[in-house]
C-alpha cells in the first residue's frame, strides 16, 4: 500500500536535514505504529507524505499503490486515498464544519469521476458518523475547529476520515490531549474503519493508544530514521524502559 524508500528531506528555509533516509513498507490492511522521541521527524514525515510546502525532498521515494506520491499536489494525494489526521488540526474561521466536510467529500468524488452526493444523502451520512463519535449538531455547524477543545478537534479529524474513507490513514498523535474516554471513542472510530483494503500509520508517543488500536508492526524513529522495527512488544518495551536503551543500541 505505502512504500517509502530512503526518504530524505530538508527544511526549506533553514537548510536543516530532518529525514535522513526513512524506509517503511505498509501492506494493505496493516496497522503500523511509529513511536519516537519529540523532534525525531514523525510529523515531518506525515507532512511530506501529504504534500505540505516548506520541505525539500532530497532523496528517496514514496508511493501509494505504486503511484509516486511526491509528484502529486496535496489534493491529488487525498483523492488517491491518503489521509492525515493532523497533530494540530487547523482552525478555519468563517467556514462551517459541515460546508468543509461536504466540500471535501465532493471534491474527492469529483476527482475520482464520481457524482457529487446530494445534500440530503450527505446529511444522513454525516449525522450517523458524527453520532458514533459523539459530535453534536452544534459542532457540525460551528466554523472548522474554531473554539473546539483539544478532544473535539481530534474527534473531528476522525469524523473527516470516516467521511472521506481513505485507504491509507496517517494519524499523527491523535491521542495527545485526549482523556481516557475520548481516546476510547477515537480508537473505536479508527477500529470501525479497519478493513482488508485500508491501512493505518499511527504516530504516537504512548503505548496506551496502541492498547486500543492494536498494531501489526511497531517502528521506532529517532533523528530522522527508523532505528528499529518489531511487533507490538516493542511498544511495551518503550513504555517500560523509555527510548534511552533503544537509542544507545544504534549508536
Amino acid at each position: 500500500m505505502l512504500e517509502i524508500k530512503g526518504l530524505m528531506a530538508d527544511l526549506q528555509d533553514e537548510d536543516k536535514t530532518i529525514l535522513k533516509g526513512v524506509d517503511l513498507n505498509i501492506g494493505a490492511g496493516e496497522v503500523h505504529a511509529i513511536m519516537g522521541p519529540n523532534g525525531s521527524g514523525k510529523s515531518t514525515l506525515s507532512y511530506i507524505l501529504s504534500g505540505k510546502d516548506g520541505y525539500e525532498v532530497t532523496g528517496g521515494s514514496a508511493a501509494l499503490d505504486g503511484d509516486d506520491l511526491l509528484d502529486m499536489e496535496p489534493e491529488e494525494r487525498a483523492a488517491a486515498g491518503l489521509f492525515l489526521a493532523f497533530q494540530y488540526p487547523v482552525e478555519i474561521p468563517g467556514v462551517g464544519n459541515m460546508t468543509f466536510l461536504r466540500t471535501a467529500v465532493n471534491a474527492q468524488r469529483k476527482a475520482r469521476g464520481e457524482d457529487e452526493l446530494s445534500a440530503g444523502d450527505f446529511l444522513k451520512i454525516v449525522r450517523a458518523k458524527a453520532k458514533d463519535l459523539q459530535i453534536d449538531a452544534d459542532m457540525l455547524k460551528r466554523p472548522v475547529n474554531v473554539g473546539f477543545s483539544g478532544g473535539e478537534k481530534k474527534r473531528n479529524e476522525i469524523l473527516q476520515m470516516a467521511m472521506l474513507e481513505p485507504k491509507m490513514c496517517i494519524l499523527d498523535e491523535t491521542d495527545s490531549g485526549l482523556d481516557v474516554d475520548a481516546m476510547k471513542l477515537v480508537a473505536e472510530g479508527v477500529n470501525a474503519l479497519r478493513s482488508a483494503g485500508r491501512s493505518f500509520l499511527v504516530i504516537t508517543h504512548y503505548q496506551r493508544l496502541l492498547d486500543h488500536i492494536k498494531p501489526d508492526v511497531v517502528h521506532i524513529m529517532a533523528d530522522g530514521r527508523i532505528i528499529k522495527t518489531g511487533g507490538p512488544e516493542l511498544a511495551l518495551e518503550v513504555e517500560n524502559n523509555g527510548y534511552a536503551d533503544l537509542l544507545a543500541e544504534v549508536v
Binding site: 504534500g51 505540505k52 489534493e75 466540500t103 472521506l164
Partner: protein, 425 residues
C-alpha cells in the same frame, strides 16, 4: 501652483458646462455656494491622501467601456419595486409603478411641480451638515446639479423593497443622482441599489430615520471594470432607530463610498458594512466612513472587508466621533484586507475621537495573505488549491455579509461573489 488656485481652477472648469436644474432652487444655490467656497477636492487634501480625485473632478467624464456578462439582474427573485435609470435617465417602461404599501415614491425631477414639503426641507440638509468637520465638495456638487433621483417616504412598514437599478449604456455618460429617504417614526423600508449607472457616477443619498424607524440599504455597484463612482450616504437617526447599510463592490476603476452618520437619538443603532473584491492594478476602492455619536447608548458597527489581487488598491478611512455626553456608546470598527498577492495594497486610517468617559469603542485593521495552513488543511482533504482559496476568500468576507439582515439578499450577493471568483482572469 498653490493648491487653492488649482482647486478653484478645476472647480471653474467643472462648472463651466453645468446649469442648475429646475426645482429646489434655494437648496441647489446653497449647495453651489458650499462648493465654490471649498472648491473640488485635490489629491493634496488630507481627506484624499489615498485616493486621487482627479478623474472624479475633471470637466468631462473619462470613457468607460460597457461590461457584458450573462448574469441575470441582481435580486431578480425578490419581489421589489424596480425603478430603472439608464445613464441617469429614468426609464418608465422598464420601471414598475412607483408604489408600494407603507411608502410613497416620487421622482426628484417631479418635485418642482409637486410641492413635497418634507423633501424641500431635507434636500441638501444632511449633506450640508456633513460638510463639517470635513469638507465633502463632491456631495455639494451633486446637491447643486443632480438631475434626478427618487424621494422615498416610508409612513409604515413598506410592503416590499425599492430597487434603484442603474444601467450603463453610454461609454461617456456622466451622471449625478440624488435620492432622499424619510422614514417616519416606527416605519421601515429597504432600499436596494444595483448597477454601475454611468461611466462616471456621482450619487448622494440622504436618509432621515425618525424614532424607532428602520432603514435597510443593500447595494451592489456593478461589474463594469472602467466605471468611476463617488457616492455619499448621509444619515441622521433618532432614538431607537436602526440604520443598516451594506455595499458590495466588484470591479471599477475608481470607487469612493462615503457614509456619514449622525446618531442624534438615544439607543440608536447604525451598522455600515462593505465587501469589495478587486482585481488588477486599475482597481481602486475607497471606503470613507464618519460616524458621530451625539446621544446616549448608541451602537455603531463598521465592518469592511476587501479582497485584493493583481495590484488592486483598497482604502479605508473610518472615524468614530463620540461627542461629550454620548455616554454608553458602543462603537466597533473593523477593516481588513486579504491580499492575494504582493502587488496589491491596503491603506487604512482608522480613527477614534472620544469626548465622553463611559464608552466602549474599539477598532482594528489588518492586512494579510491567505492562511497557508488553512489552505493546506483543505488541500489535504482533497479540495483543489484554487477552490480552497475561494472558500477561504468567501469566509474572509463572511463577517461583512452577515451584516445584511435579509438572508435572501445576502445569498444573492454571495452567489455574485462566487461568480466573480469563478471568472478570474
Amino acid at each position: 501652483m498653490a493648491v487653492a488656485k488649482l482647486k478653484s481652477d478645476a472647480t471653474e472648469a467643472r462648472l463651466a458646462g453645468l446649469t442648475l436644474p429646475a426645482g429646489l432652487d434655494t437648496a441647489r444655490k446653497d449647495a453651489l455656494s458650499r462648493l465654490i467656497a471649498t472648491g473640488l477636492p485635490h489629491k493634496r487634501d488630507e481627506y484624499w491622501k489615498y485616493t486621487d480625485p482627479a478623474s472624479l473632478t475633471q470637466a468631462d467624464a473619462p470613457q468607460a467601456a460597457l461590461f457584458h456578462n450573462d448574469e441575470g439582474p441582481m435580486f431578480d427573485a425578490i419581489d421589489r419595486v424596480k425603478i430603472v435609470f439608464v445613464d441617469g435617465v429614468f426609464d418608465a417602461d422598464a420601471s414598475d409603478d412607483l408604489a408600494a404599501d407603507g411608502v410613497t415614491i416620487t421622482r426628484l425631477s417631479d418635485v418642482a411641480d409637486a410641492d413635497i414639503h418634507w423633501a424641500t426641507e431635507l434636500y441638501g440638509t444632511l449633506e450640508a451638515r456633513g460638510q463639517t468637520p470635513v469638507e465633502r465638495p463632491l456631495a455639494a456638487l451633486n446637491s447643486a446639479f443632480a438631475s434626478d433621483g427618487v424621494l422615498i417616504h416610508a409612513t409604515g412598514k413598506a410592503s416590499k423593497p425599492i430597487n434603484l437599478i442603474y444601467l450603463h449604456g453610454d461609454t461617456g455618460s456622466d451622471v449625478m443622482l440624488h435620492s432622499l429617504v424619510k422614514v417616519d417614526a416606527g416605519a421601515e423600508v429597504t432600499l436596494l441599489e444595483t448597477g454601475p449607472a454611468a461611466a462616471r457616477f456621482n450619487s448622494v443619498l440622504e436618509v432621515d430615520v425618525a424614532s424607532k424607524g428602520a432603514f435597510h440599504h443593500v447595494r451592489s455597484q456593478g461589474r463594469d471594470h472602467e466605471r468611476r463612482a463617488v457616492t455619499h450616504c448621509f444619515a441622521r437617526i433618532e432614538d431607537e432607530a436602526l440604520f443598516k447599510s451594506f455595499t458590495l463592490t466588484v470591479n471599477g476603476k475608481l470607487t469612493r463610498n462615503e457614509c456619514i452618520i449622525e446618531m442624534l437619538g438615544d439607543d440608536a443603532v447604525a451598522h455600515v458594512a462593505g465587501a469589495c473584491v478587486g482585481d488588477g492594478n486599475d482597481f481602486h476602492h475607497d471606503d470613507t466612513v464618519f460616524i458621530t455619536h451625539d446621544a446616549l447608548n448608541g451602537e455603531s458597527r463598521q465592518v469592511f472587508k476587501k479582497v485584493l489581487r493583481n495590484g488592486a488598491v483598497g482604502v479605508f478611512q473610518g472615524k468614530i466621533l463620540v461627542k461629550a455626553g454620548a455616554q454608553k456608546t458602543d462603537g466597533y470598527q473593523i477593516s481588513q484586507s486579504l491580499l492575494l498577492d504582493e502587488d496589491s495594497q491596503f491603506l487604512a486610517k482608522p480613527e477614534l475621537e472620544i469626548y465622553a468617559d463611559d464608552v466602549a469603542c474599539s477598532h482594528g485593521s489588518t492586512s494579510g495573505a491567505i492562511d497557508e495552513d488553512a489552505l493546506f488543511y483543505l488541500q489535504s482533504r482533497g479540495v483543489p488549491r484554487q477552490a480552497a482559496t475561494d472558500l477561504l476568500t468567501l469566509a474572509f468576507l463572511a463577517e461583512s455579509l452577515e451584516e445584511i439582515a435579509d438572508e435572501a439578499l445576502a445569498d444573492d450577493l454571495r452567489e455574485r461573489l462566487e461568480g466573480w471568483m469563478a471568472r478570474r482572469g
